[in-house]
């Protein structure tokens, strides 16, 4: 009798625990669906042609064209700065400093930079770019697209470093040995054989970094600063889609809030599509990314 009741208790405990785990998963999925559904519903309703063709909502029939152009410039700047540095740094970690003390330390710090608070990185760039240029112009605070691009590059950098590092370590060492035995100098081996061999993985890392930075707001607040007008000059204050969403969400006017939703819809779709594509490619290469 006693043992059968113990058995029953254990079975009940098991069923309850496994049931709760399904509930937890359901909770996660419900919130995902809820957020996406609201973004979809409120965003699609507010989408119209003006959004893509007119600038700044603070005028009659305004749109988000200036913010979209600004975002494009800022993201490209960030990627253009971070990609060469990140790929070279990742190559150093994998090819030159693998299992050395300094290499391990930098790999470790890179993982920390990966989740460092982006607003602090924004303030860092404010200090090293915006303040010095302000001193040059005798006191006019010179927020600039360039500063914003550098801030985004700092966020993209660890993503690219890590992917490059992991991708290069997947390249079979026979490839290196074959090349070196033919007398190729190491720099040629690295640039023309190793990086080429892991090209698709590295490109995926860059896409992942782009997905990461194109939704970032915090580092842009005090670097690119935002702008109600269209500008192509990277030395000018530069608007961006996430920052426009931030400002239009705070506005008391529901019509302007609606435009923020439309912007949110555009950003979310862009980011999710990018990260889905890059994750698909990465999962084929079996590399973890947290």
């Amino acid at each position: 009798m006693k043992s059968s009741s113990l058995y029953l208790r254990r079975r009940i405990k098991n069923v309850v625990a496994l049931g709760l785990s399904s509930v937890a998963t359901l909770i996660g999925l419900i919130f995902l669906a809820w957020i996406l559904w609201e973004t979809l519903r409120q965003g699609i309703g507010a989408i119209n042609w003006n959004l893509f063709s007119k600038i700044s909502v603070y005028r009659e029939n305004g749109g988000l064209a200036n913010a979209m152009v600004g975002s494009l410039i800022l993201d490209l700047l960030g990627i253009a700065i971070a990609t060469p540095i990140g790929v070279l740094a990742g190559t150093w970690l994998a090819e030159y400093a693998n299992r050395t003390k300094l290499g391990e330390t930098i790999r470790f710090l890179n993982d920390i930079l990966l989740s460092a608070p982006s607003i602090v990185l924004g303030l860092f760039v404010y200090t090293i770019v915006v303040l010095p240029t302000t001193a040059l112009t005798h006191g006019d605070t010179t927020f600039s697209g360039l500063a914003g691009g550098i801030a985004l590059a700092l966020i993209a950098l660890p993503v690219i470093v890590r992917t490059t590092d992991e991708m290069l370590r997947l390249v079979p060492s026979t490839l290196r040995e074959a090349a070196l035995s033919l007398g190729i100098p190491q720099w040629k081996l690295t640039l023309q054989i190793l990086i080429r061999a892991s090209r698709s993985g590295i490109i995926t890392g860059v896409l992942l970094a782009l997905a990461r930075i194109s939704g970032e707001t915090a580092p842009l607040l005090f670097t690119a600063f935002g702008n109600n007008f269209l500008t192509f000059n990277p030395m000018d204050k530069m608007p961006s889609l996430p920052q426009a969403i931030y400002e239009y969400t705070k506005d008391p006017d529901p019509a302007i809030n609606a435009i923020a939703w439309a912007g949110a819809f555009v950003v979310t779709m862009f980011v999710l599509a990018l990260s889905l594509i890059s994750r698909l490619i990465l999962s084929r290469n079996k590399v973890s990314h947290d």
């Binding site: 998963t25 996660g28 995902l32 150093w92 607003i119 100098p185 915090a218 931030y246 994750r279």
Partner: protein
């Protein structure tokens, strides 16, 4: 003739070997320089915020950490309210996210039928891809009003000490602190608690993906031995899988904590941005990141310095938390012999 050619060929090869060696050295330096930039940006971020915050640290000394007064009109700044807000929202986020993430990891590794695992885990990971500004908007326009209408009245009347109907609940009378934690006269949904809940949703994908990944590293023979002895699935997970992966699970939790501490945009929208210390989780508050985002644009002088000092505190705390996370995660990797 032939002897001459051979004599000429040797120097050319030597020149070439020499040039290659030089190029290799230069290339190595270039690569090392790029890698050191990672180090430089972390040191730079700490240095820049410490330098920017030097006035505040010198002016207020240690009192900067213990003072809850933040008053731009009198130029007096204390870090206690935002520091408290950051810690309490992150703690709420962990309190919710850890069990839910564990449940998700358990479901995905033991319960779900194999064909369902990949789509469900990709869906959960999608949550990590949504930009934080979207969480902020959703929190402000959708979740906070929902919370104020449907969840808050329930919390105040069953747990709080200031319910709308005037009757103090049993819980508030008999358990200390609970009543004050849920008592409030704030009609809006934006509060420390809602900010914590939204943070929880944001960090669930990070924690659950780490947990799921490390659960899969448990040797099958260990689990099968336990099953062979008659263990239930829950017993295998609780008594075999969890102890085996303990350090990495803690690492995953700290990784989530690191994210929650530094999160800016979502919290800024929802927390209410009030520089006042309150024991109630339903009252608005402020976090370090939200205070910086709100005030840095218009700040000058000592206020700007105080905000930089806050950023320095945030950076140091997240750095330590993330360091612990990575060290814990590494421990399991070492055990595996990677």
């Amino acid at each position: 003739m032939q002897a001459n050619e051979a004599a000429a060929a040797v120097p050319i090869q030597e020149v070439r070997a020499h040039r290659d060696a030089r190029d290799d050295r230069l290339f190595g330096w270039l690569l090392k320089g790029c890698a050191l930039l990672v180090l430089a940006s972390l040191l730079g971020a700490a240095g820049a915020t410490l330098w920017g915050g030097r006035d505040a640290f010198m002016h207020f000394g240690f009192g900067f950490l213990t003072s809850s007064e933040w008053n731009p009109s009198d130029d007096v700044y204390g870090a206690l309210v935002p520091v408290f807000g950051t810690l309490i929202t992150s703690f709420i986020a962990l309190f919710i996210a850890v069990p839910v993430s564990f449940g998700i990891a358990l479901y995905l590794s033991e319960v779900a039928p194999p064909w369902l695992r990949t789509p469900v885990s990709s869906a959960i990971e999608l949550l990590a891809g949504i930009p934080s500004i979207i969480y902020g908007m959703w929190g402000l326009f959708v979740f906070a009003p929902f919370f104020a209408d449907h969840v808050k009245p329930w919390l105040t009347s069953y747990l709080g000490n200031q319910p709308d109907d005037g009757k103090v609940s049993w819980v508030a009378e008999h358990i200390p602190f609970i009543g004050r934690m849920f008592g409030n006269d704030n009609p809006f949904g934006g509060s420390v608690l809602t900010a914590g809940i939204v943070l929880a949703i944001m960090i669930i994908p990070f924690i659950s993906s780490v947990m799921r990944e490390v659960f899969q590293t448990v040797p099958t023979r260990l689990k099968e031995s336990a099953y062979a002895l008659g263990s239930s699935t829950w017993e295998v997970v609780w008594d075999i899988v969890l102890p085996y992966t303990r350090s990495a699970v803690i690492g995953g939790i700290f990784l989530g904590l690191g994210r929650a501490l530094g999160e800016t945009m979502a919290v800024t929208f929802i927390i209410g941005n009030k520089m006042k210390l309150s024991p109630s989780l339903l009252d608005p508050g402020a976090s370090i990141a939200s205070t910086i985002a709100n005030q840095f644009g218009e700040a000058a002088g000592l206020q700007k310095s105080a905000l930089m000092a806050l950023a320095f505190l945030l950076f140091v705390v997240t750095f330590i938390v993330l360091m612990i996370a990575r060290l814990m995660l590494r421990r399991l990797a070492h055990k595996e012999g990677r």
